[in-house]
């Protein structure tokens, strides 16, 4: 057990990161930054999982394994997203969300 740092410090950090990610996703205009916001959300989830695992259920490793898989899946997601962003750049010569749209609602 890590002495001195109570679990809710980790949970508050994760919550702040999660909502910073959601805020960034909704307000950022650069596609790469939007992708970074998503990574922020996923890392908040990882912190949550690992804190819960380490403090509350240290005899089982489910949370740790889950965060490992989240990291791997996030990497593959970023790979596909960046490939599409490169294609967007070729088509529109920009990766700004507001300039790269042709369909109207």
């Amino acid at each position: 057990m890590i002495t001195g740092i109570p679990i809710h410090y980790f949970l508050i950090l994760a919550t702040l990161m999660f909502f910073a990610g959601v805020y960034g996703f909704l307000t950022r205009r650069n596609l790469i930054t939007v992708l970074m916001s998503v990574e922020l959300i996923l890392n908040a989830v990882n912190i949550n999982f690992m804190a819960f695992n380490r403090y509350l259920y240290p005899h089982k490793m489910e949370g740790m394994f889950f965060s490992l898989f989240v990291i791997a899946v996030a990497a593959s997601e970023a790979a596909v997203a960046i490939a599409i962003i490169i294609n967007i750049y070729r088509r529109f010569s920009t990766i700004n969300v507001e300039d790269a749209h042709e369909m109207k609602y």
Partner: protein, 473 residues
């Protein structure tokens, strides 16, 4: 664990073998003869679909992470039939020159998403569920951006991947809260210790939001129209039918097995979202000119009807949801098949272009009419029975107001479905779509859709079979 036990993963293993085989054939085939990959994949997938229908032992693998039983196998078979129809419909489109270099990628990516959906449906643990979900959504984004030279295709791809990443992030945050309060990620173990404390309810709401994005429930539907319009038509068909169907299947399993304790809470959420989804989907569908956008909003409103089967938490509800998805696969793929055939032959996708279609292409118009009638729920065809069972399931639990709103919405939807029928049969056009002959792939696929629309409605044994395999809370 003995190797024979892996037989119960038959669907996933066969699909993995098929995906690898397509890749190997791609490497060894002559660049001018890539077209034969289409035939090979279609035949191979047809075989898999037939093999999937064979009875299989029930059981668990990987310590209960992977569960299979007759009900889940039936869901996988329903998805298999839908994907087979999509494969057959897309043959003509894949033969076009601009796609000749990337035929095998289409099949590999599509089969990968189907493997993901199968794992997702068979999951008994949230890790398996999450990996299946991601395997089902990441390749679909690559497919949405498949038309590299079309701007809107790239736009659809980036919208889909970012929204699906955000929604799985939200879903995972909910899962992490549920894990923190229950100490397990197994469906069964969570259900035994889940008490519905405030933090657990918060986790559930995050989970619901993530799934609502995937099924495109209002207010999380805003991505749907753009992604559906930008993607190639067969990918749109796949997204609106197979992806949505798989997400609905696992969502109803999770709601009924993991969260039965807080049933009162999620019934309220579903009550509100169901009304919103039906109404907003219908109202927006009326003003659409592009047929893909039109079908996108129509599929949003269909998701609203499907939620009626969730709300009672009864066995009839689950059976009617599965049955409705089966009917929906045939009717929506019928409609998309006609749109795809016409777009391939003439490049036209707007409602106005369909004026006078009956005079030039009577058979296609009749198929389109049948599919739209089934989507609207007009009595002789299967869609009527699907809606009837959904409404009965909700009414059985006393949700009369909801059922009345749903019936009113059906009337609104009848208006805009009939607009297209009117354009095809009654309106005249100076410049109608020319008469054309489709290849036998398209004809076979559309024939199967028509047979499905008619037969699933009248074969009453089918609903009994589905009902025996489903369960309530």
């Amino acid at each position: 664990m003995s190797p024979e036990k892996f037989v119960i993963m038959r669907h996933e293993l066969l699909l993995t073998a098929a995906a690898l085989m397509v890749l190997i054939v791609e490497v060894f085939s002559h660049p001018d003869k890539k077209g034969k990959v289409i035939t090979l994949s279609a035949i191979c997938f047809g075989l898999i679909t037939v093999l999937g229908l064979l009875p299989s032992p029930e059981g668990e693998l990987f310590g209960g992470m992977y569960i299979t039983n007759a009900g889940r196998l039936m869901m996988k078979n329903i998805l298999n039939i839908g994907v087979l129809l999509v494969f057959l419909q897309s043959a003509d489109w894949l033969r076009r020159d601009e796609n000749s270099e990337k035929i095998s990628e289409y099949f590999v990516l599509m089969i990968s998403t189907l493997i993901g959906m199968n794992f997702m449906i068979s999951s008994g643990h949230f890790l398996m569920f999450y990996i299946g979900l991601e395997l089902a959504t990441i390749p679909i984004a690559a497919l949405a951006a498949y038309d590299r030279h079309r701007n809107i295709s790239a736009e659809a791809g980036i919208k889909l991947i970012l929204i699906s990443a955000l929604s799985s992030g939200i879903l995972l945050y909910g899962l992490s809260l549920i894990y923190g309060t229950t100490g397990s990620l197994y469906f069964g173990e969570i259900a035994t210790v889940f008490r519905g404390s405030n933090l657990q309810l918060l986790g559930f709401i995050f989970f619901f939001t993530g799934m609502a994005f995937k099924i495109s429930i209002v207010p999380f539907h805003l991505w749907t129209a753009d992604v559906y319009e930008g993607s190639p038509i067969n990918i749109t068909a796949y997204l609106s039918v197979i992806s949505k169907g798989a997400a609905v299947f696992i969502f109803i399993i999770v709601l009924f097995t993991v969260f039965p304790v807080i049933v009162a809470a999620w019934q309220k959420v579903i009550y509100v979202t169901s009304i919103l989804t039906m109404t907003i989907g219908n109202l927006f569908a009326i003003r659409q000119q592009n047929l893909k956008r039109f079908l996108a909003f129509s599929s949003i409103s269909q998701a609203g009807y499907i939620l009626l089967g969730f709300i009672g938490g009864n066995q009839l509800g689950m059976a009617s949801v599965i049955y409705y998805i089966l009917v929906y696969i045939f009717s929506n793929l019928g409609a998309f098949g006609v749109v795809l055939a016409i777009s391939n032959a003439s490049g036209k996708e707007n409602v106005d272009d369909y004026n006078g279609l009956y005079h030039t292409n009577p058979k296609l118009s009749l198929i389109m009419m049948l599919a739209l009638f089934s989507l609207a729920g007009i009595p002789p065809v299967a869609g009527y029975f699907g809606k009837f069972f959904l409404f009965t399931a909700a009414a059985e639990k006393g949700y009369y107001t909801l059922v009345i709103i749903a019936v009113l919405n059906t009337i609104i939807s009848l208006y805009y479905y009939l607009l297209i029928v009117k354009a095809m049969f009654l309106l005249k056009s100076d410049n109608p779509i020319e008469k054309f002959k489709s290849t036998w792939y398209t004809r076979f696929a559309l024939g199967l859709c028509v047979a499905g629309i008619i037969v699933t409605g009248f074969a009453s044994g089918l609903f009994e079979l589905i009902r025996n395999l489903s369960f309530g809370i």
